[in-house]
């Protein structure tokens, strides 16, 4: 498996955002399509990877999950450095986490300039009665910041696949990605036929990695 993975194009996704906004649960939903009511807090940095089948190619996504507490921010720049995508998550029921989004975006821009696709993700939309940040406000803010935007619920499994479809479509080297970048992606969806599957790619013919 590792041999076949080595032959795939790898893309680094870094998940940022305040403490307990749902970074780990979004990743868990994407990786295993499941949700636990309780997650252990991420200490430092965690790493997971998954193969994703796009319509025209197969890529390997490397997901970097980070600790949300402010104190850990000094550890994060090194992980942002060579990432293709930054997923900045906030909690729609926690206004502070939304206000901090600007700082996270700046942090990423400082490290990566324009070489990174930033996705703003409002998580926990299933908690209808606790919502503190409206869809319209977030959408406007995302346009202002020039980043992609989507709302999700990792708990309900809402929009998680859509998020990763759009991430896949935005990856460098993808025609759709360039198109989406140009459209600034606030509402643009990725190609509809993207497959998201966890199965490993059969061993590639060119297995030599030397």
């Amino acid at each position: 498996m590792s041999i076949s993975n080595q032959s795939l194009a790898k893309y680094k996704l870094v998940f940022l955002g305040d403490q307990a906004v749902g970074k780990t649960s979004i990743i868990t939903r994407f990786m295993y399509d499941k949700f636990d009511s309780t997650y252990q807090a991420t200490i430092g940095i965690d790493f997971l990877s998954k193969t994703m089948y796009l319509e025209d190619r197969t890529v390997r996504l490397q997901l970097w999950d980070t600790a949300g507490q402010e104190r850990f921010r000094s550890l994060i720049p090194s992980y942002i450095r060579d990432s293709s995508v930054a997923v900045i998550v906030y909690d729609v029921t926690n206004r502070t986490s939304f206000l901090n989004v600007t700082r996270w975006v700046q942090e990423v821009r400082v490290e990566r300039g324009g070489d990174v696709n930033i996705f703003l993700v409002g998580n926990k939309t299933d908690l209808l009665d606790k919502r503190q940040v409206s869809l319209e406000e977030s959408d406007a803010h995302a346009r202002e910041l020039g980043v992609h935007f989507i709302e999700t619920s990792a708990k309900a499994g809402f929009n998680i696949k859509a998020l990763f479809r759009r991430i896949g479509a935005s990856l460098p080297g993808s025609d759709a990605g360039r198109g989406e970048d140009a459209a600034n992606g606030a509402n643009g969806g990725g190609p509809a036929t993207v497959q998201l599957e966890a199965k490993a790619k059969p061993a590639a013919a060119s297995a030599c990695s030397c």
């Binding site: 252990q40 991420t42 430092g44 790493f47 949300g68 402010e70 502070t96």
Partner: protein
């Protein structure tokens, strides 16, 4: 014949035709009436079908609803059962025999109760465990050259004791009785093993039996049984046999006293932890709990949120599968403990990861005892194990510790170190959770972490974290070398330990705690080398520049300044277990140095040029650094360097906000300390100013000079060392 046949056939046809014609009329009539009937019936039928379909749909809806409800019920039943099973499993796990480190001895397969009792004694009668500290430190500090490697002494007498305890348990004895019985068994076994004729010591006689600097081990370590001060690491040659036996007697007496105290720990039946000490309620903990909330201390970490909120958010995410923390009570206890600690130590406040160490203690001892022990873990040596530095704002000491780990890894397992480095698996990724959670939030089981805790509490020596990390990698070495890519290596680091047996975990800890695995001297040399290197790296790679996030008020500035002054005047040695005074001094200065420098320890890659060097040159380098970097000289150098560097505005700026950095100064900013406040990208400047809510006075962005240039005179700012150190705190 053929004609006859033909006629006959014709006749038959004729008859048939006539017959058919005769029958046709009634058939038509019948068909017509049938058609009428059918039409009528059809109407009736369609009505019926419609009705029955409607009712079927209703029925279907009801049935589906019923099925859904059923499914829902079954799912919730299943979840409930699953939770119960999980709780049972966790309970089972809690009841599983565990290894307990007492001094340099390991009591294998003991019930968890023994640990609870031991910890209560450590918290309430610390004098009884002083001897353990000496023994443990000596065990850890000895190096290969000073004696033959020796694994920690294992006490397997506990196994029999455990069996007797479990059989007693089934007959309904209280935990206290069981424990008492078990302790007695244990003591007997232990004394038989040691060949002791000493009677079980009484608590009254224990104090006099304790020798001041700790007591010797068994005859197996006769050569090093001589007392030469705690943790000195040097073993005097053996004494006379009478002297030795006196030591052994003292050792046994102190151990007996310890066990006596352990089984005297009050424990109500039905409780999962011992009772709180009777004198609690008027203690420091109670006072801290009673402190009003919402005070300035609540904002001690800066940022937008209070410590209370930050702690609160982690309570449900600390050991979420442990029965104690599944319901509110355990979480409330954890919250109180962490808040009390944050109030007690506002500089550290709360850092993610701390909840795991505190939570682990709460699974073993009652709340206030857990707080006492937690302070013992966090406090600076010699009072505690000094773990608080790992959580310091900016996490710089953590990065230094990780760099130290990498240095030792390169020395001890060069092949693995090179392999990990080549695939990009840096210690920051895998070892920082180990250190920050004391191995509790990892694939390793809780009892593994608990034995690390045993050593931390008894020895007050935080080097055990590094030792265990090295032993873990040593155990994982063959698995890790099999993978040639980053993903494989990182996954193996997480997954392989899951398949280990309890024996494998025991072996890892036995290795980590065996004398000579990593000697105290090696550890101290590595730490010094890392600190010196961090101090020497005047211009770290630009990649280490980090953006500052400053959210603070004038009062916070003032407070931090005051704290720093205090810190400086105290100059407390906090660089680790260093028993040598000279080294502690150096460690103190190194820590000041490290505090003043941000971003110089390896993040993505280890910047230490020493990291790959063999131990010989490491020792040389460290010795050179010790010789060169006398405390004063080092500070002077630092001052000289920093005078050239425009300050971050922490010292004198009226606005108390970061002063804007001129682009030309960015190269100076590469100097480790100042790097924090620098903006690696030109466009970052206005952004950062906005972000810091500072009235924007954007400097014109200038092209970054190719060569470092001296700072502009008007930007030069004299800084006291306090200001410089303060800068590193200002990060938060």
């Amino acid at each position: 014949m053929a004609e006859e046949d033909e006629d006959r056939a014709a006749g038959r046809r004729g008859w048939r035709l006539a017959d058919a014609a005769g029958m046709f009329a009634p058939l038509v009539r019948a068909a017509a009436s049938a058609g009428e009937a059918l039409a009528y019936k059809g109407q009736e039928l369609s009505t019926t079908i419609e009705e029955s379909a409607n009712s079927a749909v209703d029925l279907g809806v009801r049935q589906v609803e019923g099925v859904l409800r059923d499914i829902e019920r079954k799912v919730s039943d299943f979840q409930r059962r699953q939770r119960e099973l999980d709780a049972l499993a966790a309970d089972d796990q809690r009841r599983q025999p565990v290894d307990i480190q007492v001094g340099d001895s390991v009591f294998e397969d003991m019930p968890m109760e023994m640990r609870s009792r031991l910890y209560c004694v450590i918290a309430r009668q610390p004098d009884l465990v002083d001897s353990l500290r000496g023994r443990l430190l000596r065990c850890l500090s000895s190096s290969k050259s000073s004696g033959s490697p020796r694994h920690p002494r294992s006490q397997r007498g506990g196994r029999a004791a455990l069996h007797s305890s479990s059989s007693l348990g089934s007959t309904g004895h209280s935990p206290h009785q069981r424990q008492r019985r078990q302790q007695l068994d244990l003591m007997q076994a232990h004394q038989q093993r040691a060949g002791s004729r000493l009677a079980v010591g009484s608590p009254g006689g224990s104090d006099s039996a304790l020798s001041p600097g700790g007591t010797g081990g068994d005859a197996g370590v006769a050569g090093s049984a001589e007392e030469s001060g705690e943790g000195s690491g040097s073993d005097a040659g053996g004494g006379g046999s009478s002297h030795l036996s006196a030591h052994l007697d003292a050792s046994r007496a102190s151990q007996a006293a310890l066990f006596e105290a352990m089984h005297n720990v009050p424990w109500s039946s039905g409780s999962s932890v011992p009772d709180e000490a009777p004198e609690c309620g008027c203690s420091e903990y109670a006072a801290l709990l009673a402190a009003p909330r919402g005070s300035a201390l609540q904002r001690c970490m800066g940022g937008l949120e209070s410590v209370d909120d930050i702690i609160g958010r982690d309570l449900g995410r600390t050991f979420p599968e442990h029965p104690l923390f599944m319901e509110g009570d355990g979480q409330a206890r954890l919250g109180r403990l962490l808040r009390a600690y944050a109030l007690r130590d506002p500089e550290t406040g709360y850092c993610q990861g701390m909840a795991f160490g505190a939570g682990l203690l709460l699974t073993i001892v009652p709340e206030e005892t857990a707080f006492t022990l937690y302070c013992r873990l966090m406090d600076e040596p010699p009072a505690g194990a000094g773990l608080r530095r790992l959580y310091a704002p900016g996490l710089e000491p953590l990065k230094l510790e990780l760099a130290t780990f990498e240095l030792l890894l390169g020395e001890r397992l060069p092949e693995l170190h090179a392999h990990l480095a080549s695939v990009g698996a840096v210690p920051l990724l895998y070892a920082s959770p180990w250190f920050l959670t004391l191995y509790a939030a990892t694939p390793m089981p809780l009892h593994f972490s608990a034995r690390v805790l045993d050593v931390l509490l008894q020895s007050g020596c935080d080097g055990v974290l590094l030792r265990v990390a090295l032993a873990l990698l040593q155990a994982l070495q063959s698995d890790l070398l099999e993978h040639s890519d980053f993903e494989g290596v990182v996954t193996a680091l997480k997954v392989v330990p899951l398949s280990w047996s309890p024996h494998a975990y025991r072996a890892v800890l036995d290795t980590a705690l065996s004398p000579g695995f990593v000697s105290d001297v090696q550890l101290a040399l590595a730490r010094d080398a890392v600190a010196a290197e961090a101090a020497r790296v005047v211009r770290p790679p630009p990649s280490f520049t980090m953006q500052r996030r400053v959210m603070r008020t004038d009062s916070e500035v003032a407070r931090f300044e005051a704290e720093l002054l205090q810190h400086r005047s105290a100059a407390s040695p906090c660089g680790g277990p260093g028993p040598s005074d000279a080294r502690s001094d150096h460690a103190a200065s190194a820590r000041l140095e490290s505090l003043s420098r941000v971003g110089s320890a390896g993040v993505g890659s280890c910047p230490l040029s020493l990291s790959g060097t063999p131990s010989g040159s490491l020792a040389l380098g460290a010795a050179a650094s010790l010789a060169n970097l006398s405390e004063i000289g080092e500070l002077e150098t630092l001052l000289t360097e920093l005078h050239l560097i425009p300050g971050g505005g922490g010292g004198g700026g009226g606005s108390q906000h970061l002063q804007h950095q001129h682009p030309q100064q960015r190269h100076e900013a590469a100097d480790a300390q100042a790097a924090q406040q620098q903006l690696p990208e030109q466009q970052r400047q206005p952004e950062q100013q906005r972000q810091q809510e500072q009235p924007a006075q954007p400097q014109p962005a200038e092209p970054q000079p190719a060569e470092p240039q001296p700072a502009e005179p008007q930007r030069r700012q004299r800084q006291s060392i306090t200001d410089i150190l303060f800068d590193s705190f200002k990060f938060f």
